[in-house]
């Protein structure tokens, strides 16, 4: 479904600030794969996401989605088949527009936008049904401006907007990091539900190791722009935080930077 081959990205090349953000990355996701990505700050996780979404172009390497080469497609064209939820709950929705208007914009993702009314009666019913699956009561507030919602509600709405058109790829960029623990858990659970329901091929970056272990069928660990650890299936299910840290030490021969890596 998603194929990255020989991707390299260097920032500020030939200056003292040179940073090799990604070094010859090869990654292949099968349809329906749910891959969690962990790694310390500066490991290249966000760069990896931006390469897939198209907001960043690789220096070298090829990005393929569904067998189609998309390396040269700009972000807005690629988002035809990529759904994305950002870390910042404010980033995924338009605050001064209503819930139903936001959903209508998300609904138009894989269609050509035309001069026809965005929120029709029929669509409103459909939006209501989708909102009910969030169990937040948002289905009764279709005309509320999204700016009035709490961070957790906005992030749940962002998740719904990113997924209900069933994109080929779902990118989750630390999408629970800005929420309090109980809201984060809610969004984590919702994520598991929607990914399963729509059978989405998902790439999720997280700093929360427990979350990386709980969700998905495959886990990759990144460090210094490289994928240093890649487990899936049964092996991943049996993984624990201790084992992960141990693995990191074994590969890199040092303690993992724990600055933002939340344990448990």
């Amino acid at each position: 479904m998603l194929n990255l081959s020989n991707i390299s990205v260097t920032f500020n090349e030939d200056t003292p600030d040179e940073k090799k953000a990604l070094q010859d990355i090869n990654l292949s996701l099968n349809s329906g794969d749910f891959v969690t990505v962990i790694g310390s700050n500066g490991a290249g996780k966000s760069t990896l996401m931006n390469i897939v979404s198209g907001s960043l172009k690789p220096d070298i390497g090829i990005v393929e989605i569904n067998g189609k080469k998309v390396s040269q497609l700009p972000e807005y064209k690629r988002s035809n088949f990529i759904g994305r939820v950002f870390q910042d709950p404010m980033a995924g929705t338009a605050p001064s527009m209503t819930i139903e208007e936001n959903l209508a914009m998300a609904y138009a993702r894989n269609k050509k936008r035309k001069l026809r009314i965005g929120v029709t009666k029929k669509r409103r019913e459909m939006f209501r049904e989708f909102l009910e699956t969030l169990h937040l009561g948002l289905e009764n507030r279709l005309n509320a401006k999204v700016g009035l919602l709490s961070g957790g509600e906005r992030q749940a709405l962002s998740l719904l907007m990113a997924t209900f058109t069933e994109p080929n790829i779902l990118l989750l960029d630390e999408h629970t990091a800005a929420l309090d623990p109980s809201r984060a858990e809610l969004i984590t659970n919702l994520t598991g539900e929607v990914v399963e329901k729509f059978n989405l091929t998902t790439l999720m970056v997280t700093h929360n190791m427990q979350q990386a272990l709980d969700l998905g069928n495959r886990l990759i660990m990144m460090d210094k722009g490289q994928i240093i650890f890649d487990v899936s299936g049964k092996e991943k299910q049996e993984l624990t935080i201790e084992k992960l840290l141990h693995e990191f030490q074994r590969i890199r021969g040092k303690q993992m930077d724990n600055d933002r890596a939340v344990l448990g």
């Binding site: 807005y76 914009m105 936008r113 001069l115």
Partner: protein, 327 residues
């Protein structure tokens, strides 16, 4: 008095179209577009020179609209493809348009007094059908003694402006319109939903300046001339209308806001007309009055809200201390 208020409402409703254009760029796209000062004259100039060269007034007015769209899309191109800051793109286009407008017009001032315009064509219709007389006798009931020359301009313009308002409302609710609003609200978000924000900005600015130029074309026909300097400070008048309208009439929905902008444009003209009646003030003070009006419209709502909040707290405190006394 009635005559001058009548004149204010009449021109207010023509300038309201310009204010709707400013609303599109300034509020919907969140793009402070200074092209307006130039594109307003472009509209006036194109309409005037077309009419002088024998183009039917209606077609000439459509030309004005199209010329404005063109000017707006160039500002959009400068900003999106040239990556020039929004304010600077507008200023550059405005200054370029000054020369272009002179070229279009051929000379700095084009009188239309002896030409037939959209309005002169329709005035006799109001006379012969008796609409004028009917409306005159209606206002006579309210004690008015001197009557306006013709009701034609007012009635036609109310009609035209409302049609433009309804079309704008509809457009902003379409799929394209929603994406346009989101471009001004959260650009990153709408790009992640496969909208080409560059094209949307260009479309938005084209529509905005199209309306501004349409208004310019109508103002030239209403006033009987096009002048290369008639656009100076137009953006501030547009902003004044938007801000005053929003402050008086509210912004709850799109439909309400566009109506508020029209109301604001009329209110602005009335206030300026009344202000100029004050002996001490001269016509040259108009720009100063405009600036002061905008400042008041920006500050007053905040002051009112603060004082309301203070009173609410005071009441709460009083109620609490009363309760304490009773106990």
């Amino acid at each position: 008095m009635f005559i001058s208020i009548f004149g204010a409402v009449e021109s207010g409703i023509i300038y309201a179209i310009m204010a709707l254009g400013v609303y599109l760029s300034f509020r919907v796209l969140d793009f402070p577009d200074l092209t307006v000062d130039g594109s307003f004259v472009t509209g006036a100039g194109v309409a005037a020179i077309s009419i002088i060269n024998g183009v039917p007034p209606f077609i000439a007015t459509v030309f004005a609209l199209l010329a404005g769209c063109l000017a707006g899309s160039i500002t959009g191109l400068l900003n999106t493809k040239g990556k020039i800051n929004p304010l600077l793109s507008g200023i550059l286009m405005m200054i370029a348009l000054y020369s272009i407008n002179l070229r279009i017009m051929g000379r700095p001032n084009l009188p239309l007094i002896n030409e037939s315009t959209i309005f002169t064509g329709l005035k006799p219709l109001f006379e012969t059908t008796g609409i004028n007389q009917a409306l005159n006798s209606l206002v006579q009931l309210f004690g008015v003694e001197r009557f306006p020359g013709s009701w034609a301009v007012l009635i036609i313009m109310v009609f035209v402006t409302l049609i433009i308002k309804v079309i704008t409302d509809y457009f902003l609710k379409t799929e394209v319109g929603l994406a346009l609003r989101a471009t001004g609200d959260n650009e990153r978000m709408i790009r992640s939903f496969s909208a080409n924000t560059d094209s949307l900005k260009i479309i938005g600015l084209a529509l905005s300046n199209g309306l501004v130029a349409l208004s310019g074309g109508l103002v030239a026909q209403y006033g009987g001339f096009a002048d290369v300097n008639m656009g100076i400070g137009m953006i501030v008048i547009g902003l004044a209308s938007v801000i005053i309208g929003e402050a008086i009439f509210g912004t709850k929905t799109i439909m309400r806001t566009t109506l508020a902008v029209i109301g604001g444009a009329i209110a602005y003209r009335i206030v300026v007309t009344l202000a100029l009646k004050v002996k001490f003030l001269e016509t040259g003070d108009m720009k100063l009055i405009t600036a002061l009006l905008v400042i008041v419209a920006l500050i007053a709502p905040k002051l009112i809200a603060t004082s309301k909040e203070q009173q609410r707290r005071k009441r709460k405190k009083m109620a609490l201390s009363k309760k304490a006394e009773e106990v």
